[in-house]
Point group: D2
Chain length 355, copies 4
């Protein structure tokens, strides 16, 4: 039994923990050989791999990043079957055979899962593992990496809180998440944000300004706003995607946090500052929750291999580890539901979503 | 609407976050008045309380401990209806009326919930909130405080790891949990423990010693053992509780970690050391996960009050917040299931449970 | 004895610890009354203050921010004695008398100390306390807040490290410090940066690019660059300040990190990303080092008051707490010395300063 | 040029950072070969070593423990020249020659430095590096590892604080340090302890009890006591060492924290609990301060080698890195001076030393 593993897409805490889970369970329950494919699908296309030894999986549980390296999606455009794509898929199939793989475990986010599904359709034995700090993979309650990113973003908000209060300022913290607001929602709630702006709930800047004014009336001269990268105003939400992108290029500030801060300074008398923690949200040692989840996910992948169940991705349903068919989840978005229990809970403690 | 709140039992991260959740949702959705009862049920017995003001719930989301104070269970013995108990229950009923409460929200663990159920049986409107670092309350997937304690215990194991490796030692870390091994299981898995000893899976010290020997044969001269306070050997497990307690008093070392370390030093040639982090596992600021969960729990309590649904405790089922009847969960244990998926996952990556 | 305290300038960890140190020592050794002046010198100008009570200094040792509030320097231009300035100084003198202060303790950075010196010249009894994350106050080895900021920035670099390695990227982390590079130097060394760019050592971008190329030749496809906000190229260093500012406005990217990343992408084949942690470097709970230092500084201020020694600011010399005359240190810069022992040490482990 | 390195004595954060500093500076400025001696002096006695490669020093800056392994002092009794000792010294000299070393860098605490001095007297070229969390090496202001241990112990006190307050308890935290109280003093001050008990200032338990009573009178029903492992009562201080050891064996509790807690419970009505964080104080990743200091120390060792200056140990004097003669510092204690500025500062903010 030869198992190929690759990690694809952006960095995410827990990748090494998941790799270790797959490998240790595969060694123990399948007596398998592990083939480490370098730098994501690029390594599969180029035939860049190594046969791993057991000791290489020691001491990596707590390590950030990925010992296999990663790269962005190999395809320029997933939706069109361009000639280039056909060539790359062909190369991946050939290398899968050349490496004499019995199956391929692909750790990644939405792009990774689309490619995994495509390779599965081509007849390869593929299993996905859902990693992303964005928590936007359909069919799993949580992806690994998410809760670590929540911890990091929450820590940022905690630090900003004291500055906001001391200076009587409004602080706008821009949190990762272009299409889905999970990270901003959780970090915002954990950090005690007064306003949370998500892609799923378009905001009205006047309503946000009103929060600042209302707080000032209560003698609270500072406000914490957690805003997702992909948050959009109600006007923007009414546009088509291309129009919206064009409109953003026209703004004084491209980053949403700076755009919002500038608008709020005009609408209120409050001094506004922005913080954009950026990439630090996706690096470093995974938190305990993600170490356990990644390990369980990895072990479950080995379990599925043992059962010969391919064309699936591992998932969390409640507290149980299970799996979904790649065909059912690839490319399906998982936005925050504006009517969900957690959004209602946030509203009930007077958090504003600017709507 | 007058809502009484109390926190009872051992300290636990997230108590203030939950109190804040109840209060902010109650102010906003019920326009209620919040009565803070001091030091748990003792305050209800003694009539020691204060009418809270809104600002008292500001800035406490991140704060460890409880602004209301806490105390251990008011009853010396829950199972016998002693005269003393009757008096105390009577006092609590009288003070509930004297405070003109419409309901009582009790935050605590198993003991707290037994008393809550008792007061509910007596006709008071009671709602429980399940807090405990032990995660041993029946009917909820997780209690708040648990994941913070996992983080702390994992951090201890992380620090110990380097010392173990540098000195080629076996380190035995004793983690809280007398009846349930949840905390040890999660922290052990997150910290990369080689051996995890739980109350639910009695160990054979010879098998634990064999792990050390087997690792030495592979050139790994250090071992990490995570042991729950309440872990027991297979001989102890065969005893009745009183016998077991008596046997422990006879041992050279009372603490299980020291007992195990001493035995392992005799059975192997490996130097063993113990670490007992103790109370630090139940103090300090809650992690992001627990802040969100505590907040959701608190808001749900307000929601139940609004619906007039009493005699229940809030619970997590999957990722949904729900509730259970106090009568169904009070006094029901929630041990780790030795056949559960997570235990099997741990075994599949070669973690030994000493059995 | 009535002691006024104010905190002025940007937020900085340890302000509350220092305030507590002054207050507790003043209560105990001087039986003094403490007057809290709100929002820095603005409160002294406006007569906005309160008589503090002892309990207000409890529980603030670990708290970020400042319980007194802060504001930027009250003067638009320190160097010119404008009419506005004269009015403000007059107002401060009047309020000092109106509050019946025996002395004023001013916590802040360079701007704060200039104003403190000015008030001292006007006959007020003033004592300064050097706080700033920039560590750029002349005459003291360290300011409080600095080591906390080093911890935060180092943690950012740690997290970024794994992403850089996994993606084979160059990561450029922009660290606070406009005029002085202390924070970047310490965090860069602690975080294992390959390149450190400081205002005090102008860089040649070609030399920085060469580091990336040289590393690639050794098989290291990632590079960590720690750059101070105020870092400048050798061309910029040759300009006058106004020219330099104008040139920066012309650049594609205003932020130095983005400017450098863009240039490096052109000069090398390496993908470059930036991280700008910003304000999170100046907020939150102080680290242990800063709690002890702030406390010692605060106590020393009370000691100086007892001795009637005014017109001075507290300082650290080696491990001793001492003081300097305000007249000797106000407005004197404290840049990193390019020939200092620590810079040479950094060079000896192959850290490049781009020169 | 062949440089041998060994790490000896207890684990300590910063060992790997210091090793990396020596190695990187030696490679760059001396073009040296580094010989890694395994498990401290034991490796020198047994001839257990390896020739290191450059890549082995990559990525270890942040790593706890020591990549070289460590062991306790090789001598059973340093003070007597036993036959066994003579044999071991002879073996070390022979292996030094057999390895063709030009010098030996020994990283360790007091025991390590005594042996280093002994080897220096025997004609070997030895340089010491002062590592210990206890900060008790004469002639250096700080050792590396100390500030990390302060951070860890302070974090423990922070977590305990909330539990103490919520339960109205006295918490007694036992901090490492048998002969010197530096760690307890700094962590106690940083953690806001009410009482700090050090080996250097013998306590009177009645006076400690009085602190609890006095606080209760002010409405503060909890107390934090930071006690060094080696703290002693005034009665014990009057005894000879052997008597004292014998008396301790007779006590109900051997650990000083438990002994004190039991006494305080008898003398007051306050519930007392103990926390003994133990080995976690000496493990894990070094804090930023220690990473910089360790690096500077390591680089300075390479600098001394280049200058041919042996028989010395690296030291911190103020903020300068310097060196002392091994003969001048080996075996010289460095206790906290009860009359020092920092002790007086602590007393001035009403911290009790129980005297």
């Amino acid at each position: 039994m030869r198992i190929g593993i690759l990690t694809s897409g952006g960095d995410c805490p827990g990748l090494n923990a998941a790799i270790r889970g797959v490998a240790r369970a595969a060694y123990q329950t399948l007596d398998a050989e592990i083939i480490g494919i370098r730098a994501g699908y690029r390594g599969l296309i180029d035939g860049d791999y190594q046969i791993m030894e057991r000791h290489q999986f020691s001491g990596i549980l707590t390590l950030g990043g990925t010992i296999l390296g990663t790269s962005r999606t190999p395809f320029r455009n997933m939706r069109v079957v361009e000639e280039d794509n056909v060539d790359k898929v062909y190369a991946m199939k050939m290398n899968y055979k050349a490496m004499r793989l019995d199956c391929l475990v692909a750790l990644g986010g939405n792009g990774t899962h689309k490619t995994a599904n495509l390779l599965s359709d081509e007849g390869l034995n593929v299993i996905g593992l859902p990693k992303t700090i964005d928590n936007d993979i359909f069919g799993t309650d949580f992806t690994f990496g998410f809760h670590t990113a929540v911890d990091i973003a929450t820590d940022v908000i905690d630090r900003i809180h004291t500055t906001a209060a001391s200076h009587s300022r409004c602080m706008v913290i821009e949190i990762m998440g272009n299409k889905a607001g999970w990270l901003t929602l959780y970090a915002g709630m954990a950090g005690g944000a007064d306003v949370i702006l998500l892609p799923e709930i378009p905001y009205d800047i006047e309503r946000v300004a009103k929060v600042l004014d209302d707080r000032a009336k209560l003698g609270k001269f500072f406000t914490i706003i957690a805003v997702a990268e992909g948050a959009m105003s109600q006007e923007e939400a009414a546009m088509k995607k291309k129009e919206r992108e064009a409109a953003r290029m026209e703004r004084e500030f491209y980053n949403v946090s700076q755009h919002i801060a500038a608008q709020l300074e005009k609408l209120t008398n409050v001094e506004c500052r922005t913080v954009i923690p950026g990439h630090m949200q996706r690096g470093g040692s995974p938190c305990a929750y993600d170490r356990v989840l990644s390990t369980q996910f990895g072990v479950h992948a080995a379990h599925l291999i043992k059962q010969g169940q391919f064309g699936v991705t591992v998932a969390l349903a409640g507290q149980q580890i299970t799996q979904n068919r790649l065909a059912d989840i690839a490319g399906v978005p998982k936005p925050v539901d504006p009517e969900s229990q957690i959004i209602r809970a946030a509203r009930n403690i007077n958090i504003s979503f600017g709507d």
